[in-house]
């Protein structure tokens, strides 16, 4: 992807929009590998870590956060023009994040609920993923992202390999770890069967149900690139686990609630009596 003969190290930018900083912290959590990263890449722009902030163009931009203000919608366009490879990091940038729960609500009433003078607050009525605004070259899912996956993707880019990450469900990883299935054995409404792998199946590993941090998986039953069978899982939650429709709705309307297969499923269950 980058000319290996080029003596210049690839220039990296890390840019934040509406988010919690957790995915940027995952970069700082690379610990020793962070120093190696600093040697391999020229960290040209990463305000959270460095006051040395240099303008573009950038070879790689890691983008955290979703678009929630008119100003940010302009800012992402400017970044895209200066960037060769733009990668979203985390649920906010890739899917709109938890703050996309506003997309179902009246934002004016949200402002009134939080701020005494709502007229001072400039905010769009939706929280949208970066891909709804500009072309995204690669998406890293997760809330937060997995730092191993991040390192893998950056390494692939630096050595000139097209990055690929698995998109199958948490269930497969869960089996490899030898976890007891919390859906079958404990009757918990686990989203593992429809959620993308990458976290290491930590929720079932900690004795609880997956809540969909890594977004929808691909390929299970319907084939590669196709959405997971949320219909079947939602039906199981309702008829076998006795969740009432609003509870089924809440399961799918969470951290990655605004992304299509989860969004469609939650909308169906919202309308059920």
């Amino acid at each position: 992807m980058f000319n290996p003969d080029e003596r210049q190290r690839p220039r990296l930018a890390v840019v934040k929009f509406a988010s919690c900083d957790g995915c940027q912290l995952s970069i700082l959590n690379l610990e020793e590998d962070l120093l190696a990263l600093g040697r391999t890449l020229d960290i040209a722009y990463f305000p959270e870590a460095s006051s040395d902030m240099r303008p573009g163009p950038y070879d790689i931009a890691l983008v955290e956060g979703s678009i929630t203000t008119a100003e940010d919608a302009h800012r992402i366009l400017a970044l895209r023009q200066q960037t060769k490879v733009l990668i979203t990091i985390g649920a906010c940038a890739t899917a709109g994040g938890i703050q996309a729960l506003r997309n179902w609500a009246d934002v004016e009433s949200f402002k009134r609920a939080v701020y005494p003078s709502p007229e001072y607050i400039q905010s769009l009525s939706t929280s949208t993923p970066i891909s709804e605004h500009v072309h995204v070259d690669f998406e890293l899912w997760g809330c937060p992202i997995d730092k191993g996956q991040l390192l893998r993707v950056i390494t692939d880019l630096v050595v000139g390999v097209q990055p690929r990450l698995p998109a199958d469900s948490v269930c497969l990883e869960c089996k490899r770890r030898g976890n007891v299935c919390v859906l079958v054995a404990k009757g918990l409404p686990c989203l593992g069967p429809v959620t993308r792998t990458g976290c290491g199946a930590i929720c079932p590993g900690m004795g609880r149900d997956c809540y969909g941090c890594f977004g929808p998986s691909e390929g299970a039953r319907k084939g590669p690139g196709l959405p997971p069978n949320t219909t079947s899982l939602a039906g199981h939650f309702h008829s076998d686990l006795q969740l009432i429709p609003i509870e089924v709705m809440r399961r799918f309307r969470g951290i990655n609630g605004a992304v299509s297969p989860f969004r469609a499923e939650s909308d169906i269950w919202e309308k059920k009596p």
């Binding site: 900083d21 870590a49 902030m53 703050q99 939080v114 969470g254």
Partner: protein, 436 residues
């Protein structure tokens, strides 16, 4: 970029780095007098308090964690304590210890990040810890390993360090076996020694001569250095329970910021490591006290730049406390106390790495959240940061615009503001108005 007109002079630095979040500072100067100091927070509002309404109480720890990736445990802890108050639940014994241990992990991780990666470069003259590593490799490596020790505690108890997954109302979804905790011991013993070195290292930094009379506000507990529980105590003499918090601490909005400001009896106050250490100095461990005495550091600390010392002392405390808690741990028979849902209102304050974090919830008979109120530490410190900048500015007026701006950034970083909590880039603008 300097821009001069006949009447005003504006100095602007686009961004203050090495803080968590997006904001800006504007200082207006007329002649020798500082007219206005406005810390503006641009971080887009995310409306957590609004969309928590209608969610089930069991979902709250997973949702509120997402307010801040640096201190998710703080949000989870204030939430579960407030909700447990509603359900009439008290969590004791090994589960209480594990919560304290998880929180110690977060203090270590968050403080080590700030001490080594965000603030120390200011004292040693670098842009970042990464550039600092070229000349101070051993120090930076020590800092990163310390931070990793905090993360290791969080990962063991919570599944991962950013947004841990095991915290629930009543306890945990899974508790570790004693043997699993023992696996951490060796690394934590190393980290404890590294923390002693850290206190010695930061104590020898050169600090500006600047002392202020703060009203310090921190939790106070009869038996221990406060983490999850205690009275809200102010150095002015106030002592109240979390239930009375909103009667004394008032949030108000200013036009230039997306974060609310909070004041106590109309005045700014200080929360965070400096306040906590000053209010609770007798609860420190003998080793922590000894290291302070050896370096001739006397409490209370009144210089905001000494926040880095307070943070380093708390890393040491948190490591010693972690080792103590691990030593006496026996896995409890149940990972969580059973709950009977009932309607009501509950409030709780816990000590986030950056200071008191207040939560209030109203829950209905089905366990659904009807109302939520969250007051993070940074919105409490915001007025105090502005006031301190106002007091610090006069000595900066002789400096060039660029130097003055850099000095202001350093003042702001002392408080470790978490703008993602309150709301990340800080733009700094100094506007100078000539008197003529």
């Amino acid at each position: 970029m300097p821009e001069e007109t006949a009447q005003t002079r504006t100095i602007a630095v686009d961004m203050v780095a090495r803080v968590e979040g997006e904001g800006a500072l504007r200082v207006t100067v007329k002649g020798e007098t500082v007219q206005e100091v406005e810390l503006r927070i641009f971080e887009p509002p995310r409306f957590f308090e609004a969309f928590l309404r209608g969610r089930h109480y069991e979902e709250v720890p997973d949702i509120v964690a997402r307010i801040c990736g640096i201190c998710p445990v703080a949000y989870q802890m204030s939430a579960v304590h407030a909700l447990e108050q509603i359900f009439g639940l008290r969590v004791e014994g090994a589960i209480r210890d594990l919560r304290r241990l998880l929180y110690c992990g977060e203090w270590i991780e968050s403080h080590a990040l700030h001490v080594y990666m965000l603030q120390a470069p200011d004292f040693l003259g670098y842009d970042s810890a990464i550039s600092m590593a070229k000349d101070h490799a051993a120090v930076v490596t020590r800092g990163l390993r310390l931070k990793k020790a905090g993360n290791a505690i969080m990962t063991l108890l919570g599944g991962r360090s950013v947004h841990p997954v095991s915290v629930k109302v009543g306890g945990f979804s899974r508790v570790p076996l004693r043997g699993e905790l023992e696996g951490l011991k060796e690394e934590l013993l190393w980290a404890r020694d590294a923390a002693v070195e850290t206190v010695r290292w930061v104590a020898d930094f050169e600090y500006p001569d600047f002392a202020l009379n703060y009203n310090y506000v921190a939790l106070r507990h009869p038996d221990e250095y406060p983490v999850n529980e205690g009275w809200v105590a102010a150095s002015s003499g106030l002592q109240i329970s979390a239930s009375e918090f909103e009667r004394h601490f008032i949030e108000h909005q200013v036009a230039y910021s997306n974060a609310l400001h909070c004041t106590l009896q109309g005045s700014p106050y200080l929360v965070g490591p400096l306040a906590r250490l000053n209010v609770n100095q007798e609860d420190l461990t003998p080793l922590a006290k000894q290291v302070l005495t050896d370096r001739r550091i006397e409490l209370p600390l009144r210089n905001p730049f000494h926040g880095i010392i307070a943070r380093s002392v708390e890393i040491l405390y948190a490591l010693e406390e972690s080792l103590r808690l691990m030593e006496r741990y026996e896995a409890p028979p149940l990972s969580a106390v059973p709950i009977t849902v009932r309607s009501g209102t509950g409030m709780a304050c816990t000590e986030a790495p950056r200071g008191i974090l207040y939560h209030r919830y109203v829950v209905d008979g089905d366990g659904v959240i009807r109302e939520a109120k969250i007051i993070p530490p940074t919105s409490q410190n915001q007025s105090r940061i502005e006031q301190d900048l106002r007091l610090f500015m006069p000595r900066l007026l002789r400096l060039s615009d660029k130097e003055a701006a850099l000095a202001c950034e350093r003042v702001i970083r002392c408080y470790d503001p978490c703008i993602s909590c309150a709301t990340h880039f800080l733009n700094l603008e100094i506007r100078r108005e000539s008197i003529a």
